[in-house]
Amino acid sequence: MPVNLGLAQASSDFLIAALLIYSLAVLAFAGDYAFGRPRRAVKAVAHAAEPAAALATVGANTAAVAGAAPGTVAGGPVPPAAPAAPGTGTGPGAGGTGLPARPTGALRATWEAGPWVRAAVALSVIGMLAHVAAVTTRGFAVHRAPWGNMYEFVTALTCVAAIFFCYIVVRYRAWALGVFVMGAVVIALGLAETVIYTPAGPLVPALQSYWLSIHVTAMTLSTGIFFVAAVLGIMYLVAEWYRKRVAAGKAEPGNGLLERIPSAAQLDKLTYRTVIFGFPIWTFGVIAGAIWADQAWGRYWGWDPVETWAFITWVIYAAYLHARATAGWRGARAHYIQLLGFASLAFNILVVQVFITGMHSYAGVG
Amino acid sequence: MFKAKRRTVAVVAAVAVVLLAGALAVTLTTGSGAQAGVSYLNGNPAQRVYAAGDRPVAPDFTGTSLTGAPIKLASYQGKIVVLNFWGSWCPPCRAEAPTLAVLSEQYAAKGVDFIGDDVADTSASALAFTRSVGISYPSVNDPGYLIVQDFSQVVPVNDTPTTIVIDRTGHIAGMVLGTVSYATMVTLLKDAAVTQ
């Protein structure tokens, strides 16, 4: 079936629209940083209570993972009486004032976060919808799943990253992460459009199998999720570096930008939860790839370069998960490992598939 | 209680190791090992002799000769049969062909018949060859190795050429994996004449 050029053009148009809207969303997230509601109510108490922050953040409130800012043990993040924060004694409801309440709805919390956040989240969602439209129309244009070459793969995985981010930004109130995650999406998408753009076309017969939909979809999904985790990991390292500087007295606690991002502990948790979301999907993708390889090439594992690097990526993320449970390897070290895992993933996509000959070489680039 | 657990672990581990070792030993020794009743001529595993009570039954086959005549193995009951798997494209087969030609002449009167199984070949090339070396015994046309496959179920036929000696009752008495030599064939034919 020939390529539907009208839909292909529509796909390009939607993608440009998504790029523009995402850029506006990034601006809005930045605006929230600059002009949004102040977040650190009790800064002095916060830093004095820093050692207790671990306790507090373990689950001080019902609302959000990224919820309690460092040290805001005092200020119940969710105004309706949250279950008491432990230990420090300043928690509301510690004396048993009334029933524990249901947690606040996520959407409501988003609305109440202020106009900048509302605009940013709305723009992110609209941009994400445009992005989804771009990917879908591309699929209809070429009559197949729209991840058959490098360009399509990158647009699809950034779409996954955007969807995933839209989910966590509302569910976990992670507005502070918006600038960075959406910024990374914009950069990746921009590079894809300019550097590796491939016009819509049919697939090589070796790829004409329904396993394409299953295997490459899983890899696209998990790559998108690991992409978000990598951004969060970098943010963690920055937050941790800043926290150490403050603790050593080298930096003023009142530094605007770095004050606004979540604490290192929260980022650590959020990164972990993102990785454990993506890791099973990656595992499934590798298994599906093995099944497809058996159908197409006669063996389910042959140490093809792309297979090998998918394995290496898997092992590194497994190392990250083990590191989180090993003394001396938590914290920054674990995040280095996680970032190394994403680096190996990126290497697999950008270098191995394109330059190293193997049976996977149909990235469609060049 | 903890000591008990450690002991249980040790016991379980030991049992597992023993089972594993046993399974491994069993697998390694069965299958490709020497079967009972086979002996090698001059210690050469390519030259096999089957003792009188342990001879496998030769699978029957029906086919067409290179000249179009029908051939059936069962019709050779009561004669000793030398079955030679060959092809005109196969240099070792071509090299041993004169030996087989001579043997077939010499033993014709002694109740020994020679049959060829021509594999992966066409009648044209095969006949051109047999005529050139003076082979007058028939060969069955078997381009797909189907007769070879039947025989490989009972004796190891790994390559061409392979020669099998079948005794008067239709049992495999001996075989040569690879090219035959005159002396080997004489010995095998003598053994084949020994019946139960």
């Binding site: 606004r260 948790k269 939860r273 449970a325 | -």
Partner: protein, 590 residues
Amino acid sequence: MTDVRSSRSTSAPQQETADGTGEATGPFGPNEMDVTESGGGGTSVPPDTSAGWLRWGWRQLTSMRTALILLFLLALGAIPGSILPQQGTDPASVQQYYASHPSLAPWLNRLGLFNVFATPWFAAIYLLLFASLIGCVVPRTFRLVGAARTPPPRAPRNLKRLPHSTTYDSALPPAAAAESAAALLGAHRFRLRRPAADDSGHWVSAEKGYVREVGNLLFHLSLVGILISIALGGLFGYKADKLLVQGTSFGDTVSALDEFHPGRLATASDLAPFRMTLDNFSASYVTSGQNEGEPSSFKASVTYSDTPGGPARQGVIEVNHPLSVDSVKVYLIGHGYAPVFKVTGPGGKVAYEQATPFIPASTGTLLSDGVVKAPNANLGFMGVFVPTAIDNGGTLESIFPAADNPVVSLDAYSGNLGMNSGVSQSVYQLDSTGMTKIGGSPHVMLPGQTWTLPGGKGSITFVGVQQWVSLAITYDPGQVPALVCGILALCGLLLSFFVRRRRVFVRAVPAASGAGSVVTIGGLTRTDASGGFEEEFAELAFEIASAGTSVTASPGDAAPGAASPGAAETAAVAAGDDKPEPNNQSETGA
């Protein structure tokens, strides 16, 4: 203080701290965030007996740190296997590497870098890793079984020290409040523990989420299963190749196969005794547009029988669609052309007449090379087959892979082909030493044409064209077990990630006012796994409290009876007035 721990035997601390994540929080929270890794790992005191050394070594091997290091080594070790050409998959590239890096290549070879995944050092890495894994997982399985049989610990006295806790006033007396909480938690399928008859307190301990550890163990054991499955395949499996010309058949026996690669413990007698005939092969190509000449489909129609005497069946083999025959799979991996030639000798006698497979030199256009050997006429030919031929300024080229305009171009040789000496030759190669070239420049023939050779040496006729397919026959007994283990591993992974092991405690003490009780609910998770325990705890607390207050409303309670969300908010607003930033939603976002 220590009533929780003292209630059980010495195995309790083991259980509390060594659950593998190392982050075990006992009922008293982070004070017990003792980072004892599984398997002990203590390295402080060097052992002095050989048994002590062994034990120390074993603890080191099964520690998390060692697992981490081995994982890194595994990833690192796999890298050269993907960057350098590997002997197993692409021996030609290895040869090329030797040619272009003559001094470096032998050193890389000594390190085994051209066959990484079969080297002893790579095997050592993953075997050590699996030993570490098994040594960690097996004891934990025993521990899990033990934990599953012991009830949850007693409720601590001061529940407010737990990471999650809340308190509310209940109208029920302490015993009834505790009972209703127990009933509710039981309904949520928690495992409960109630105070003993002689215990004066009113409390409930509830625990849930053992499945998490089950998932963890299942995942790791499944990895062992995968390793065993791969070993099974490598030992007992085999791979074979067969080139089959259209219209011909073959029996699956080792002498018929072009290549046979058995596993270590597999032999030729393990071949499945099927027979197969290639009835027809059709290849279609894109005829126009930007993808002209690219293959669009390959289809081989075969008739086969599982056993020599068995019933004949029809089958189709395509790319991405292998055929299952008996226990093996037959794949279509390539195809080409086999022009049919008839060669006559000096006397005009036919010396050769068959379809001769030519091997494609270019996969795009299927321009193919081949030889014809007619030893009985002392003639040999070497040349090319062009499927769709055009004359491009004197050179013959193929512009399309289908046989639309087939042409052969041959060189002829006369003399001794060397086939009577007994030394094996490749059927695709002609050794022209000892032969003389006759006929001058390559002779081009169309189908049906005959080339009479000079000097009365004979003739060759290009009769027509057949096609051949290349089939791969594989048997892998470990394939299905590996898949099953892979799926189990995935299930185990999901369970271990998304199931929380959590404990909820409820304690009721008589209220100061005399009527009713003050109920404290506390909860914690063993690990900070996936999120959501905060919500779950809040929901549970809400439900317990609502169930507890549904009986009577007492004055002074901010939220009586029905405990609707509205009532909760009323209480919330009342409580919220105390806060410095009442509407500071940004707390949650920051």
